[in-house]
């Protein structure tokens, strides 16, 4: 990873190219890789970044229109911000997830161990291609000994509405193939999570595969016209049909930031299509926006929230029938 970063950074010549590199990495790397990148910066990393901040404030040149910071400063700034978010988990060691690419848009994060003792979290990301937070930050808020994470991305511009091209031409085909590809039946339990545009496909996946639980965080509306164009019917109607056909429907949690008005309306509308628990997320001091994981992270409640809503379900309801 460190060598990859060095090679990639050498090819970057503008702030935007560095940003593209950093966004791509933040959407993929594990907590272990983040810590390794930090360690590769040497013992003076903190002092150096502080000095950079002070110099930036003092130097009139750096405030000039368009002045470009040097690559080392761009790297340090990105790492410092990422490490600051990562530290919110307040854990002494990085969660030991390893990354494995299953297909172009599927990545499995696992620390190994017996799958029959673990929960698989199928995580549908939104347009930022991450579960609201940088991937190492999100993973650090889980327990690698108890859960594996299957991160489901999608081709840019298409959303999840047409499924993954490597698995099928429709979302339904993709969902059906996910069961085998991810080895869902080998796990003690499998649940789904979707953030933003990933909320609706997470809900459909849980309903179609008969998973015990699903959390949609800041998910879309059941009458989103883009879904109608892809499916030929309202996605809320499809969810209703899936729920009606399921003998054991999942526990559906629809979470939303109370200040994200569109998300509030979308969650309320979806709750009229399928039985669901609404979980408003608020912050007494600051706004609670679309990115509700950011709010929970700030309040140091993210891990507890994920466990309470989707990861730790009652065993009778949660265990996969084998």
């Amino acid at each position: 990873m460190i060598e990859y970063y060095r090679r990639a950074a050498r090819r970057c010549s503008s702030v935007n190219q560095f940003n593209a590199l950093h966004i791509g990495l933040a959407n993929r790397i594990t907590p272990l890789e983040l810590v390794a990148l930090r360690q590769a910066q040497g013992p003076w990393f903190v002092a150096r970044t502080l000095l950079q901040q002070v110099l930036r404030l003092l130097s009139p040149v750096s405030r000039l229109w368009g002045a470009q910071p040097p690559p080392a400063e761009l790297r340090d700034r990105w790492l410092r911000k990422l490490l600051g978010l990562y530290a919110q988990a307040a854990k002494p060691r990085p969660e030991p997830y390893r990354r494995r690419r299953l297909s172009r848009h599927l990545r499995l994060y696992s620390a190994g161990g017996a799958r029959q003792d673990k929960t698989l979290l199928i995580c549908f990301v939104g347009s930022s291609q991450r579960p609201f937070l940088p991937v190492p930050v999100f993973l650090q808020h889980l327990d690698a000994a108890l859960s594996d994470v299957l991160m489901v991305g999608y081709p840019r511009g298409n959303g999840h509405r047409h499924g993954l091209p490597e698995l099928g031409s429709t979302l339904e085909e993709t969902i059906d193939k996910l069961r085998k590809l991810a080895g869902i039946d080998a796990y003690r339990r499998c649940v789904a999570l979707g953030t933003s545009g990933g909320g609706t496909p997470a809900l459909l996946t849980a309903l179609r595969l008969g998973l015990p639980g699903v959390l949609s965080a800041g998910g879309g509306s059941p009458t989103d016209p883009r879904w109608f164009a892809a499916l030929g019917e309202d996605v809320g109607e499809l969810a209703r049909r899936y729920a009606a056909a399921s003998s054991n429907p999942p526990r559906v949690v629809l979470a939303f930031g109370v200040d994200a008005q569109k998300d509030v309306i979308a969650a309320q509308a979806f709750a009229e299509c399928v039985p669901a628990v609404l979980r408003p997320i608020r912050d007494r001091r600051l706004e609670s926006p679309h990115n509700l994981f950011q709010t929970l992270l700030r309040r140091r409640r993210l891990q507890g929230f994920l466990e309470a809503t989707v990861l730790q379900l009652p065993p009778q309801a949660g265990d996969l029938a084998r």
């Binding site: 503008s14 702030v15 935007n16 190219q17 940003n19 593209a20 966004i23 229109w65 368009g66 470009q68 939104g126 347009s127 930022s128 840019r156 511009g157 933003s196 545009g197 569109k262 990115n291």
Partner: protein, 87 residues
């Protein structure tokens, strides 16, 4: 790139960055035809969306604009003019 091409590129980049404001068809069409102005602040972009927009501009138009500068430009129309002048 011509002005209409730059406008179309910006709409596509904002769609990729999931900027909800431009899902309003009327607003998008008015911006594409150059008859309506859109304030960048009104797009409600987070820092990631700003970075992605700047990356798209650099990749597609070869013009480097840093995210910190984006909001100072003020409107999408002025952004179009800036890209045109720098090509």
């Amino acid at each position: 790139m011509t002005e209409p091409q730059i406008r179309a590129m910006l709409v596509e980049a904002l769609e990729y960055a999931s900027v909800i404001a431009l899902r309003d068809k009327n607003l998008t069409e008015a911006f594409l035809s150059g008859t309506s102005e859109v304030a960048i602040d009104a797009l409600d972009m987070d820092s990631l969306a700003e970075m992605e927009l700047c990356i798209a501009i650099e990749v597609n138009a070869g013009v480097s604009i840093v995210p910190e500068r984006l909001r100072k430009i003020g409107t999408l129309g002025r952004l179009v003019a800036l890209i045109q002048s720098r090509q």
